[in-house]
């Protein structure tokens, strides 16, 4: 029943091509622009063909954006800190949700999902005032502290489902044999949940990497602490934008996330879709 005629096949492939063009055109065009010399880019109307493509922009961008290396480092540093902190908060909580029955458990879990909805700009005023009062504005902390909170809910849901897959009988047997909770955690839970922890860590890293912009432009004015998206955004405001180098730098910023994604896409889809439709 799943056989298609040749005509149907062609039609399907063509439709998929149109659909994927919409999704991928910006990436293709960013890459193409990054390979072309500036004088080719600045021709109107748009030239579809260039014969002197090169990776020149990829070496020149470090001069045009002097802090580019620093921005990239900041992005990685901030996202790593946020991901690690998130894990530290999430591991015990997810374990508790997976293993214990206690009053208000389900209510709390759904309330956590609601937290996802109050992101960014809504809370920006009190967060700004709070960070200012603690004199944390214009530091790395200003971009780490708020970010963690918005990754905790989904991470708890995700890790909870991993913990639930570990048979509770293993723990009970060890407990009856006299192992302490700490020993159980170290010798049973930790090794068995390593893959789950890795997935949640990667989810948190990608999430943290993606949400940097708002916190950076709101809470930080020091250029040396800027993450990549915010740093590049500033350059776009200039009179003459060197688009080929901007696109090259943007792609360099996307690349790590894309690589992680390509290798781990199955787990990431799981992470992104958890709790939203089915449990």
């Amino acid at each position: 029943m799943n056989k298609y005629t040749i005509f149907q096949k062609i039609l399907l492939y063509l439709s998929i091509a149109v659909f994927l063009t919409f999704i991928l055109l910006p990436f293709v065009e960013m890459f193409y622009a990054s390979l072309r010399p500036l004088k080719h880019l600045f021709r109107s109307p748009y030239q579809f063909y260039s014969n002197d493509l090169s990776f020149w922009a990829y070496s020149e961008m470090w001069n045009t954006v002097p802090r580019l290396g620093r921005y990239i480092f900041n992005s990685f540093f901030l996202a790593s800190c946020v991901a690690i902190l998130t894990l530290l908060f999430v591991i015990p909580a997810a374990y508790s949700f997976a293993r214990f029955n206690f009053p208000f458990k389900n209510g709390t879990l759904y309330l956590l999902l609601a937290v996802n909805m109050f992101t960014g700009p809504v809370l920006i005023i009190p967060l700004y005032k709070m960070l200012r009062a603690l004199s944390l504005l214009n530091t790395y902390y200003a971009m780490i502290v708020p970010g963690v909170a918005f990754l905790i809910p989904t991470s708890i849901w995700l890790l909870k489902s991993y913990f639930q897959k570990i048979p509770i009988e293993l723990e009970e047997a060890a407990f009856v044999d006299g192992a302490s909770r700490l020993q159980i955690l170290r010798h049973i839970i930790a090794p068995l949940s390593t893959p789950g922890l890795a997935v949640v860590g990667i989810y948190a890293f990608i999430g943290a990497y993606a949400q940097q912009f708002l916190f950076a432009i709101s809470f930080n004015q020091k250029k040396e602490f800027m993450p990549l998206p915010a740093g590049l955004y500033e350059f776009i405001g200039y009179q003459t934008v060197k688009w080929n180098e901007m696109m090259a730098a943007s792609l360099v910023g996307i690349l790590p996330v894309l690589l992680v994604f390509i290798f781990l896409q199955k787990y990431i889809v799981e992470g992104l879709t958890v709790g939203a439709v089915k449990n």
């Binding site: 799943n2 439709s15 659909f19 994927l20 991928l24 508790s96 009053p103 009856v176 708002l214």
Partner: protein, 301 residues
């Protein structure tokens, strides 16, 4: 007997359960819950960098009586409506295409997702270049095909900027919708299709009378979820237009942000944020009750 009581103690330690949740819970209380209440408190003050005084409901009176604010509310919902509608339609078509039994569909699924994974801010830098009126590829195609008779800055005119920001928002949101719809379609029991096939139903009839009704709960959930995300959408408009030209793309979120951190009028900004919170709460209640209902139904089946 001893074993059993010991086990019970192991599985029902409520104190330990709460203690393990406490760090995460306290963190969220400090960074999300407390700011939420603080926003409400600040909305009744004239708070700024200089200090604050209680001003009663003045902020709200001023805000609600301004025609500009009412326009912003209407604009937000129009923007959201078209964006969500397009995401659902394109996502549904995309999922149906990716669900067809073709060679390479696993690869297609991977290729759909990049806009979802990458930082929105960086994706928008790419879109800025695409929308460039002189040198961008969209204006280029328009000029080459004669649709445009000269350079056209898509982000420079009210209407085209409004449409352009919607298109970019759809680009960001479509992958998630597509993947969820695809997962739902793949979850539809195969025997339903086989029965319909034996009864002689065409492919279209099978899609229309089996797939669509089966995935309706997911469609409704996704409509709500992407409405929430679209309503919250900040970076897309901020990077493309900063709410311009002349306010044409200023949604409630953009207006709130500008008032708060553009002008440092914390009180008046908070009043706007309260409106956002009220609307989001309504969405959230709707979404969570729907989700609980669906989960109950799944559990009963």
């Amino acid at each position: 007997m001893i074993k059993k009581t010991k086990l019970q103690a192991y599985n029902s330690s409520t104190f330990l359960a709460y203690a393990l949740i406490a760090p995460a819970a306290i963190y969220i209380l400090c960074i999300v819950a407390w700011p939420l209440f603080e926003t409400i408190r600040l909305s009744f003050t004239n708070s700024s960098l200089a200090g604050e005084d209680y001003v009663g409901t003045k902020n709200f009176a001023k805000m609600l009586s301004s025609t500009k604010f009412n326009k912003i509310i209407i604009r937000t919902f129009v923007w959201m409506f078209f964006s969500v509608l397009l995401k659902l339609i394109i996502g549904l078509i995309g999922a149906a295409l990716l669900n067809s039994h073709l060679r390479g569909r696993a690869a297609f699924r991977v290729l759909v997702m990049p806009p979802w994974i990458i930082p929105i801010a960086i994706g928008m830098l790419g879109w800025l270049w695409l929308y460039n009126g002189y040198f961008g590829i969209i204006a280029g195609i328009g000029m080459r095909t004669g649709i445009l008779d000269g350079p056209f800055g898509f982000l420079a005119y009210k209407q085209s900027a409004f449409i352009s920001t919607i298109i970019s928002d759809v680009w960001v949101g479509t992958p998630m919708v597509t993947i969820f719809f695809l997962a739902a379609m793949q979850g539809v029991p195969k025997d339903l299709y086989e029965a319909a096939y034996i009864d002689g139903a065409s492919k279209w009839a099978r899609f229309y009378s089996i797939t669509l009704p089966q995935i309706t709960p997911v469609i409704i959930t996704m409509a709500l979820l992407s409405a929430i995300f679209t309503f919250n959408s900040f970076e897309i408009i901020w990077i493309l237009t900063e709410g311009g030209p002349r306010g044409a793309t200023t949604t409630l979120i953009i207006d709130t942000y500008k008032m708060a951190l553009g002008n440092y009028k914390f009180g008046r900004g908070s009043a706007r944020a309260v409106v956002v919170v009220v609307l989001l709460t309504l969405f959230a209640i709707f979404y969570l009750s729907l989700l609980a209902q669906i989960n109950r139904r799944v559990a009963n089946e």
